[in-house]
Each structure stands twice: as C-alpha cells, then as structure tokens.
C-alpha cells in the first residue's frame, strides 16, 4: 500500500523509479483512476476523428462537389475523386462513422467510462471498483472495437455506410466494412455490460460506512441508474447485432424479406423471410435508452457542478433522484418514437407518442430544479460552471425540439430531416458534450493534481458556445424547409436550393467550432505538466472525492472515512464555512463553530467587530 501510494503520486510525472512496471501501470492497469484516464484519452482521440469526419461532411454540404481545400489532394482515392472532392460513397461512410464514433466511442466512453470510473469509487469513498480486473477488460475492449470499426478503411468497399442506425436490408447486403462495424458494436456493447455490472455492484456494495443511497451525489446516482439501463438495454442490441451478423456474413434471413432484388446477393437460396422492422424494434429498444445513457451521467455531473458553484443545496434532491429513475424507466418504453413513419402499426404510434410525451415530464422536473438551485445562490462562474450553465439552456432547446418529433403528425414532416440532426446535436453536443466539458474541468484538479488555465478555459467555452449555436441552430430551419438528412448534395432538389447560404453559414461555424477544441486539448496537456498545483479541495465541495489527495494514490483515501450527511450541505448555518463535507463528524462541526465564535468574540473586542 505504501509503495503504491508513492509511485502513484508521480503518476503524471513519468520517468521515476516505478515499483510497477510501465505496462502494469499505464497499459494493463486495474486502477480505476488510470482506467478513467485511458478512457478519456482514447475518447478524445476519437472525438477528433469523428469531428474531422463531420467537417468533411460540412464541407461537402456547403460546397457540393468542390475539392476539399488544402488536404483534398492528399486523401486516398477511395475517398475523394480526382479533384479532391468528397465522393457520394465516401459521404455515406463519413456520416455513418461520424455518428457511430461520436456515440459509441466518444460520448459513452467519456460519460460512463471516464466519469463513472473516476468519480464513482471516489465519491462513495471506495478504494477501487468491485471488479478491477473486469474493469480493465472493459476498457481494452473499447479501443479494440474502435480500431475494428475504423479498419473498414482497409477492406474492399470501405467503411460501414448504412448510418449509425444500420437499418437492414441495406446493412445486411453491405460490404465487409459493415461486418466490422457489427463486430465492433458487439464488442463495445460487451464492454458496456461489463462496466455496467461493475458500477452496479460497486455502488450497491462499496459505499463508505454511514453512506445511504440517499447520501449519494447525483453523479453517482446517475451512473448507477445508467448502468441499470445498460444492463437491460445493451444485451438486446447484442442479440440484434448477432442476427444482423448472421444475415450479413452467413446470408441468413432474420431481417431480409424473402423476395429482394439485389445484385449483391442471391436471395433464391433462402426460404422463409425476415422482417426489416424487427431490427428497428430491437435496435431502438437499446438505442433509445442509449440516448439517456448519454444524458443521465451528464445531468448528474451538471447537478453536482451547479450546486457546488451556486454554493447552495441541490434543489429537491429526492425529486431529482426520482426523476432520473423515471427517465430511465420510461426511457425503455418509448423506443417506437423513432419508427413513427417506418410502416409499423399506427396504433403503436399513438401509444409511443403518449409515453414519449410523458417522459418529458421528469426532464421538466430536472430543469426547474436546476433553476431552483440557482435561485438565491452565490454563483461563481468558473469554467466548469459556465459549461454546466450552458448545458441546461442547450438541453432545453434540444428537449423542446424533441417535443415536435414526439408529436406524430408533426414527425411525418420532420422525420429524417435536418430538424432531427439539429435535435441530435442540441442534446448530444449541447447536452452531453457540454456536461463532459464541465466534468473534465471540474475534476481536472483531482485527476492531475494541477489547476487548468482559467483564461484558456473561458476562451474555449465562449468560442464553443457561440459557434455551437451558429452551427446547429440553423439546422432546425433547414429541417423545417424539408432538407433530408444523409443526403450528399442538397442542390439536386429545387426546393432545397434556397438553403445553400445557410449551409455555408453552418459550415463556417462548424470549422471554428472544430478548431476551438484544440484549446481544450492544449489546456489539458499544458496544465497537466505545468499547471499550478491543486489543493485537495479547490472548489470547496462536499463530496468525498475532495477528501482524497490530488491526485489520489492507489487505494484512494489516506484517512478513514465515515459519512454523516448528504452531499449538498452548502451554506448550512451549522457550519462556519459555506460548505460542509460529507465526512466531517457533527461534533467536529460544533467544535469548529465554537472555536470560530470564540475567535470572533476575541477579534470583536480587539477591533470593534468588523468580523467576516
């Protein structure tokens, strides 16, 4: 333990005499904090890959058929034509890989993998996860899957090109790249399930003495509930992927109707027929809950950040917990809202519409409670707080656009248009990714032991916030105009021609947005080595992770822990300071107060009571 303690405090320094070998420490580590960093590092790389793909998409949409500037000629000829312009084949691959990477290799690993791993054991006062070895397995499946997905580049026919939703028959008759995509998602799903089992066991079993479920910080609650969704939903996707794999690879017919006319496949060999909509049901049975997998941990992080920087107890803690539970539960009942126009029974459309409308209620509760948290607070607009504040506002826009789509008749028109693309990005970027930023900045001192650069952080925030809205808000207008998603060249349609200036505007914003992300990376890398040393509790927060040293050693805590109160006792009149950590014994609080009053009385007699 002692040895581990010492080596770990140098974790970021490198080059020191390590007890553990380099491989055990950095590669096959079973320490939850190292695994969290690995998830973060890998996911940020994928963020840039997925983002670069988005920029290619944007270039093509704004300037259809024009060569990509600077790098167009350098790209492989399977991607671009002779001039260096995006080809239609590559475009479909781009949007598929963009969606798949962003969802499965960026947001889920960042929110669940990184924050789940880093924050959960620390926040419940545990020394590690319940199954450290499985945790390592769960991480390593993820880069493996990511590489497999990208490996489509090297095979005949290129990468997967059926959208991130992979609807058969298109995905079932597609090339080798699609097969790799299926295998890759299967592995990522397996990794998620292992992680989910781990989080559930950890939270249920390893809380510090005295810590009840209702003493858990919102982040832990959110990850816990998310893990339950993962455990329920992901296996269904795995089953669906297995069948799609059979269709794709062994030419069975789960999702392929009997009489297709396709050049690439001799259908006469198969008797009996499959059902394309079956895939959609199974896929959305997972993937709708998955969108809540991608927002709930973010909501948890934002709740923690908001309460900390408003110096106020979280408004309606229990209501917030029940809202998460309600979102999770209802979230598994609404999958059909992605299929309103799919040819499923319209009666089902009605039921799914009602359940979808109902699920907005707990989201409303959360929104109003965040407002309540800010009411009469003492807000400090640090970088994590700015991102959290932006989250709330952007999530409301994204959520409200969800209401349009939930209404079945309106969805007839906006289904599969850029309205959906706008919605996706408001909830996934404006929501999840801003929450990721908030969390990254918030826990950066704990992770690295150093403070980030505040000024660069603010630049990053404002640039991102402004260009984000410039990029994605106009997409709603495009959607209202009827522009279909996943089209290579909108100018083919007469009714879309007037929108071309808007597409250009979006693209310019997207470019700035993309390059603004280098500020984040620069800030993190620079501060990791050169930043000011961080105190144990730089934000004066209450939760247990701030009791541990920054960065926490192997085994996390150097003091015995006991929990006496909830996580949000900010500005409590009991306490001398405006925060009251969960582990401070009540006697100690009283004693502190007594000491403080004595000192106050003393100083008052000395200088006539200017006080604090």
């Amino acid at each position: 333990m002692e040895a581990a303690l010492q080596t770990d405090t140098h974790a970021h320094g490198g080059g020191h005499a390590h007890r553990e070998s380099f491989i055990r420490h950095y590669i096959f580590s079973t320490d939850h904090k190292m695994i969290a960093k690995q998830f973060m590092f890998t996911a940020i790389i994928f963020l840039f890959i997925g983002g670069a793909f988005a920029l290619f998409i944007r270039w093509q949409l704004a300037y259809p058929g024009e060569p990509i500037p600077l790098i167009g000629q350098l790209l492989p000829s399977t991607w671009v034509n002779a001039d260096g312009a995006v080809t239609a084949e590559w475009y479909t691959q781009l949007l598929t890989m963009h969606g798949s990477i962003m969802i499965f290799a960026v947001i889920i690993p960042l929110l669940v993998g990184t924050f789940g791993n880093f924050a959960v054991p620390l926040m419940i006062g545990a020394d590690d996860m319940a199954f450290p070895f499985l945790n390592m397995v769960s991480f390593w499946l993820f880069p493996l899957a990511g590489v497999l997905m990208m490996a489509g580049f090297f095979v005949e026919g290129g990468m997967a090109a059926a959208g991130w939703t992979g609807y058969p028959p298109l995905s079932a008759i597609a090339s080798m790249g699609q097969t790799l995509w299926i295998v890759s998602l299967f592995l990522i799903g397996f990794s998620s399930i292992i992680g989910g089992v781990n989080y559930i066991t950890t939270v249920l079993n390893m809380r510090a003495p005295g810590m009840n479920m209702f003493d858990l910080p919102m982040t832990v609650w959110a990850v816990f509930i998310t893990a339950i969704i993962i455990v329920i939903g992901t296996p269904v996707l795995a089953a669906a992927l297995s069948m799609l794999f059979m269709d794709n690879f062994l030419h069975t017919s789960f999702f392929m109707p009997a009489d297709l006319v396709v050049a690439t496949r001799d259908m006469s060999r198969t008797a009996g027929g499959g059902q394309p909509l079956l895939w959609q049901h199974l896929f959305w049975f997972y993937s709708h809950p998955a969108v809540y997998i991608m927002i709930l941990p973010g909501m948890g992080v934002v709740s923690d950040v908001l309460a900390t920087f408003a110096r106020k107890p979280l408004y309606g803690y229990k209501a917030m917990v029940f809202a998460i539970i309600a979102i999770a539960f209802l979230g598994i009942l609404v999958w059909g809202h992605h299929m309103f126009q799919s040819g499923m029974n319209p009666l089902l459309g009605t039921t799914f519409m009602v359940s979808t409308m109902v699920i907005a209620v707990p989201s409303a509760i959360k929104t109003f409670n965040w407002l309540g948290t800010m009411w009469r607070g003492q807000m400090e607009f640090t970088v994590p707080m700015l991102n959290a504040v932006a989250f709330v506002s952007m999530f409301v826009i994204g959520g409200l656009s969800g209401i349009f789509m939930a209404s079945t008749p309106v969805d007839i028109f906006i289904h599969d248009t850029y309205f959906i693309v706008g919605h996706i990005h408001y909830v996934l970027f404006g929501g999840s990714l801003f929450a990721v930023f908030a969390g990254l900045y918030y826990w950066f001192p704990k992770m690295s032991g150093r403070m980030f650069d505040d000024r660069i952080g603010k630049w990053h925030f404002w640039l991102t916030f402004i260009t984000f809205n410039g990029t994605f808000f106009p997409m709603h207008i495009l959607g209202v105009g009827g522009m279909m998603r996943r089209i290579y060249d909108p100018t083919v349609y007469d009714f879309l021609k007037p929108f071309q200036p808007m597409n250009e505007f979006i693209t310019i914003n997207a470019m700035v947005l993309g390059f603004a992300q280098f500020l984040l990376v620069y800030n993190m890398v620079y501060s990791w080595y050169r930043g000011r040393a961080a105190k144990r509790n730089p934000w004066r927060a209450n939760t247990l992770e701030w009791v541990a040293p920054s960065p926490p050693p192997h085994g996390n805590f150097d003091v015995p822990l006991r929990v006496y109160r909830g996580p949000y006792e900010f500005s409590s009149p009991e306490s001398v300071q405006d925060f009251l950590p969960q582990n401070v014994p009540p006697e100690e609080v009283v004693a502190q107060r007594a000491r403080h009053e004595k000192r106050l009385a003393a100083s008052q007699t000395r200088d006539g009571g200017s006080g604090e």
């Binding site: 009997a258 309106v410 500005s571």
Partner: protein, 271 residues
C-alpha cells in the same frame, strides 16, 4: 421559422402545419420563460462579495408538485390533440375512399409508379416475377395486368382527388417523401403500406427519398405533376399501350436475380 415550410397543397397538411405552429409557439414561450428566469438568476445571483452566503434551502414540495403537474397536463393535451390528427392521416379505417390508386415501388435509386390501366384493375402481383425489368412482379399471365403501366420517377395525379398510394420496396428501405403534401412513409421491402393524400393545387412538385438507401440516396428524386382531371385523363390515354407491351414481355422469372439494379450508376435525370 415556420415561414420556411414548403408550400402546403394537401388537405390534411393544414392540420399538420397547424399543430406544428401550435407546438412551435408553446416551445418558444417555454424557452423564453425558462431562459428569461435563467438569465435573470445568472445576473442577480452571481457572487458579488466573498464570504456572502447562499440561501440554505432544500426545496419546496408544493412548487415541485406544480411544476410536475403542469407540464404533465400540457403534454397529455398535446398527445391527445396530436393523436386526433394522426388518426385521420394514418389509421386505415379513416382513410377516405380513393379516387385513384397508384402503386409505388422504391428501388435504389428510383421510384416506380404503377397505374391500373384502362380497366381500372391491377394485374396480379407475384414476387417470383420481381426483377429490375418488372419491379412490381406483374404476372404476365394475368389479363388484368396487360394494360397496367409503369412510369419511372414521374407521377401524375388529378387535382382535388383522393389518391391512395400502395407503397413497397424491392431492395432496401426507402422513404416516400412529398414535402408539399406533408407525406412521408417508409417503403419497406416485403411489406405493403397505404398512404393517401389529396392535392388542392395543380403544379409540379418534388418527390424525395428520406431514408438512407445507399450512396445514391440523394439522387432518388421524382416529380409529381398535379393536373386538372381532364389533363390527367389525356395523360393516361397517352401512356396507355406504350409502356405495357414492353413491360409484360420482360417479366420472365429467370431474369429475376441476374440483372443488377443501378447501384452505382443511377439512371436518373438529376435535374
């Protein structure tokens, strides 16, 4: 924002647009309300002096109950209000009696339209005969099918008449999207779906495919011509005979899988 909507020329489109604007105004109102409070709080409750304490307060049950109940009521209202319109558009028992039935078949990357011909009866369909040359799988032995005719990427309908589209696909999923009619319906292979609409205005409109169906997805464009009944009738007469003969001859089952669909080189006029 709603000014950007393409012109609506369909009967039920008005209901859709009305609902759209209703939700739009509700959303804008909520957005402004929430964000006004939000921004006010941001300015009002920022920390001005160090050491000042926030209000120590954990929540108020009455308030929380009301902001649960109000949205709940609002959402239920929206759901039921929407459902009325939805039922009118999609439920098969509410579909008005059609004046014209057209079969539509999606193929990567074009739309086939089939009219019943002068006898007003579609010939028997048999999927065994389906091929790129006979997208609907019209049975060559059925006399009713002899005068059926099929057009590619162009659909003609009479104005102010209820048109019932019988929709399917022969390869992958497509989506039959008529922006001006407020119609969108996925065409699923192996399954026939009915869609109806009723145009109140003559003119040429665009038909698009709204579901990713391959790299030529963006090219899957057809033209809808809405004509006065008389013009439509002459159009029908012109078509009659010219297409059907060639078509029936082509429909032999052994050709079914040999001919490749235009997967890489879509035979579509782009403009």
């Amino acid at each position: 924002m709603l000014d950007w909507l393409p012109e609506n020329v369909s009967v039920f489109g008005e209901g859709v647009d009305h609902l759209f604007s209703l939700i739009y105004y509700i959303s804008v109102a909520i957005f402004i309300l929430v964000n006004a409070i939000y921004i006010a709080f941001i300015f009002r409750y920022r920390r001005k002096r160090k050491g000042e304490r926030a209000y120590y307060y954990h929540g108020n049950n009455i308030l929380e109950f009301s902001w649960t109940a109000l949205p709940f009521a609002l959402f239920l209202f929206l759901a039921f209000y929407s459902d009325g319109i939805w039922e009118d558009i999609k439920y098969s028992d509410k579909t008005p009696n059609p004046d014209l039935v057209v079969e539509v078949m999606g193929q990567a990357y074009l739309w086939h339209f089939r009219y019943p011909g002068s006898d007003g009866i579609f010939g028997r369909r048999d999927s065994r005969f389906m091929a790129t040359t006979n997208p609907f799988g019209i049975d060559p032995d059925d006399p009713n099918g002899k005068d059926d005719y099929v057009t590619i990427n162009s659909m003609n309908i009479p104005v102010n008449k209820t048109v019932l589209v019988h929709l399917s696909s022969m390869d992958v999923i497509h989506s039959f999207f008529l922006p001006n009619m407020r119609v969108k319906q996925d065409a699923v292979p192996g399954q026939w779906v009915d869609v109806w609409f009723n145009s109140i205005k003559t003119g040429k409109y665009e038909i698009a495919c709204a579901e990713l169906c391959g790299s030529g997805h963006y090219l899957m464009r057809a033209v809808l011509t809405v004509q006065p009944q008389a013009d439509f009738d002459t159009w029908i007469d012109e078509q009659y005979g010219s297409v059907s003969a060639a078509l029936v001859a082509a429909g032999s089952p052994d050709q079914k899988n040999s001919s490749a669909p235009a997967a890489t080189t879509p035979a579509v006029p782009t403009k």
